[in-house]
């Protein structure tokens, strides 16, 4: 009996603590925005570039007097966030908690494609809108339109086609493909190969490798022997470091070298210095663009606050997603259905230019590629948003 009572007390205590963590909402209180982030676990290294952008946005909004509502009033913004430990199952639980328990007003996105995909049904069920950001997969297109949107244009099918176009334009006739076995890289590879074929570019090497690869020498020796015009390394961050170091060691001479994810990370350029000048990567934003004046301001504010550069893909997308949310709220208020309608129908001005949605997707921002030039991230493709011309890679 004793045990039973202790049990009951424990459970009661637990539920009380949970309840206590939920403050009452009063008029004029901060607007609470909830999200989960992979602060620990396998994705953790990627998450700060996103969370830093979130915090920067919050600070800027609050410095401006708060988030504007349709009636012209402003309320400060407050984040409620949890660590999902890089586990999509936790993401689902956390958003359920945010919606039903913490009773947040708005939602921001977690890091990563699996998390976004796992969330889509949850948002549908609770009818809570969320602007996604760091998700990139053709699977997104299968998500029923409703309460989630993806501002990214770095989606593998479009990227494959665009990259082939760009390579053709730069006179590439042969290419070596090295792809990580994780989904994003594999998906990209599957769309790139037919596009290259169509563009008349010969694939001379096509290898996939596991994410925990520790040495690429044999692959790269093979690449070097075939001497292709282009080396397309479909990397994730950790193997991007490996690829850069070993391609340099072996003196890969291709004028067109792409590393899929990694080069836009600040540490990548710090670790490799000038040797990675000329590397192409996937992103559709650059602070160097004159067309998006707010972009440079974001870049400078970010560098000032964190002492490192924002990631041209993740940080930019994260900031954009909150800008979209901000403008939707300004127009429609905090009522979820109104926000949903506003996002569906609206047009938004972001650090990456205009954004509009059709279904779940941003149809305005073109799919682009960036290149490291003198340590800076320059947009080199497509021409209409380019901040600089593509320059063939000159050694390492």
């Amino acid at each position: 009996m004793n045990v039973t009572r202790r049990w009951a007390t424990t459970l009661l205590g637990a539920s009380l603590t949970m309840a206590a963590a939920m403050p009452a909402l009063a008029e004029g209180d901060p607007i609470r925005i909830g999200y989960s982030m992979a602060r620990t676990g396998i994705f953790a290294a990627a998450a700060p570039s996103q969370e830093n952008a979130y915090n920067l946005w919050r600070d800027q909004v609050n410095a401006d007097g708060g988030l504007a509502l349709p009636d012209g009033t402003r309320r400060p913004v407050e984040f409620v966030s949890y660590d999902d430990q890089s586990n999509p199952a936790n993401t689902v639980r956390i958003y359920e908690r945010l919606i039903t328990q913490d009773d947040v007003d708005l939602l921001a996105a977690p890091w990563g494609t699996p998390m976004h995909l796992a969330l889509a049904p949850v948002l549908q069920r609770y009818k809570m809108p969320m602007v996604g950001n760091t998700a990139a997969s053709v699977q997104l297109r299968k998500v029923a339109p409703g309460y989630i949107w993806f501002p990214t244009s770095a989606i593998p099918d479009q990227m494959g086609a665009e990259l082939a176009k760009m390579m053709k334009a730069e006179g590439v006739t042969s290419a070596a493909l090295l792809a990580n076995e994780l989904p994003y890289a594999q998906e990209f590879r599957s769309f790139l190969i037919p596009a290259l074929k169509e563009a008349g570019i010969e694939v001379v090497v096509d290898e996939s490798y596991p994410p925990d690869i520790k040495d690429m020498t044999s692959m790269l020796v093979d690449v070097k022997a075939k001497a292709p015009d282009a080396v397309i390394a479909m990397t994730y961050p950790s193997d991007a470091f490996l690829f850069a170091g070993q391609a340099k060691e072996l003196g890969i001479e291709a004028p067109f070298v792409l590393s899929l994810v990694g080069p836009t990370i600040d540490a990548y350029r710090k670790a490799n210095g000038a040797s990675v000048d000329g590397i192409v990567s996937s992103a559709h934003w650059s602070p160097e663009s004159d067309a998006w004046p707010r972009g440079k301001a974001f870049f400078d504010a970010y560098v000032e606050k964190y002492g490192e550069e924002p990631d041209a893909l993740d940080s930019a997308l994260s900031f954009m997603s909150l800008e979209i949310l901000q403008q939707a709220v300004e127009q429609a208020g905090l009522e979820p259905e109104a926000i949903r309608k506003a996002i569906f129908e609206g047009s938004f001005d972001t650090i990456n230019g205009k954004v509009e949605f059709e279904g779940v997707q941003n149809t305005v921002t073109p799919t682009g590629f960036v290149q490291i030039q003198d340590g800076k991230i320059e947009l080199v493709w497509p021409a209409e948003i380019a901040t600089s011309d593509f320059q063939p890679k000159q050694g390492w």
Partner: protein, 295 residues
């Protein structure tokens, strides 16, 4: 075929191999003398990498100097962990009886703490710095300076340790503890002292490995786990507690990995390594290089 015979591939295999051997050396020392399953071993590699990164970016200390600092930091952790946790565990007969299970959980806890303390201190953002990455070409083999340095330092530490174990009194007592714990105590080996020094040395080896790794890989708080795994693969293949065979197995794993990939496809890399590991455990759990011990 040309690729297979090239010095380039051999160099790559030796670099990986020496690093595997070094990481495994530390783990093997700790397992051999204390019978502890240290699954936080890779996190010590991470600590070593952060130490080197910090020293480089704050004080412009090159890794050839900060390697001593990293070794000292990790050895200090070893001391703290031994005095704070394991002395207690090993002294308590109930706990010591299930030392494997208990050490597994203890080190899991330590691993979680190390990772998250580092993540809170430095944020989880990946880090990196540029050091000695000029390419040297020698006999048709191109080598970045930092990878050559990795090979030299890792091999030197491994073989230095082996020589030390073979030719010093302490080395003899340590080997005695590994082979016959109780008997070693009877002949007057100070078990406590041997264990303390070994755990510090094992942790320090991981710190050295971390410094080497930091020159070429991205540094994050969660980078350690793959090193733990590799180290376990190596010491199983070599034979748990057999220090010399472990070093040999480390180099062999580097060769198997590099040439295995070259002969098949990079896609089979992990299947190859785990397959080898599982096969060794099933067929020869005492390790490939151990003399069969049967009662």
């Amino acid at each position: 075929m040309d690729t297979l015979l090239s010095g380039q591939l051999l160099f790559a295999a030796l670099v990986s191999g020496s690093l595997y051997a070094l990481v495994a050396l530390g783990l093997n020392l700790v397992y051999g003398t204390l019978r502890l399953l240290n699954i936080a071993h890779g996190d010590l590699v991470m600590i070593g990498a952060y130490t080197a990164f910090g020293a480089f970016s704050l004080f412009h200390l090159p890794p050839v100097i900060s390697v001593f600092l990293a070794a000292a930091v990790c050895a200090g952790l070893g001391w703290a962990v031994y005095e704070g946790l394991f002395r207690r565990l090993l002294a308590n007969p109930t706990l010591a009886k299930r030392v494997e299970a208990n050490s597994l959980i203890l080190f899991y806890g330590i691993s979680v703490i190390l990772q998250n303390v580092v993540a809170m201190t430095f944020t989880a953002s990946s880090r990196g710095y540029q050091y000695l990455d000029t390419v040297i070409t020698w006999g048709g083999v191109s080598m970045t300076g930092n990878r050559l340095l990795t090979l030299i330092v890792a091999s030197a530490v491994c073989f230095g340790t082996l020589l030390f174990l073979r030719h010093t009194l302490f080395g003899w007592s340590l080997r005695a503890v590994i082979e016959r714990r109780e008997a070693a105590q009877v002949v007057g080996v100070n078990l406590n002292r041997v264990q303390l020094i070994t755990i510090c040395a094992g942790f320090a080896a991981a710190g050295v490995a971390g410094t080497l790794v930091s020159m070429t890989e991205q540094i994050t708080p969660f980078m350690g786990f793959p090193f733990t795994i590799v180290a376990f693969v190596v010491i199983i293949v070599g034979g748990l507690g057999n220090i010399g065979a472990g070093v040999l197995a480390g180099f062999c794993l580097g060769l198997v990995e590099t040439y295995g990939i070259a002969l098949t496809s990079p896609g089979y890399r992990s299947i190859l390594i785990y397959g080898l590991f599982v096969a060794v455990l099933l067929i020869r759990p005492e390790g490939v290089f151990s003399k069969a011990v049967r009662s």
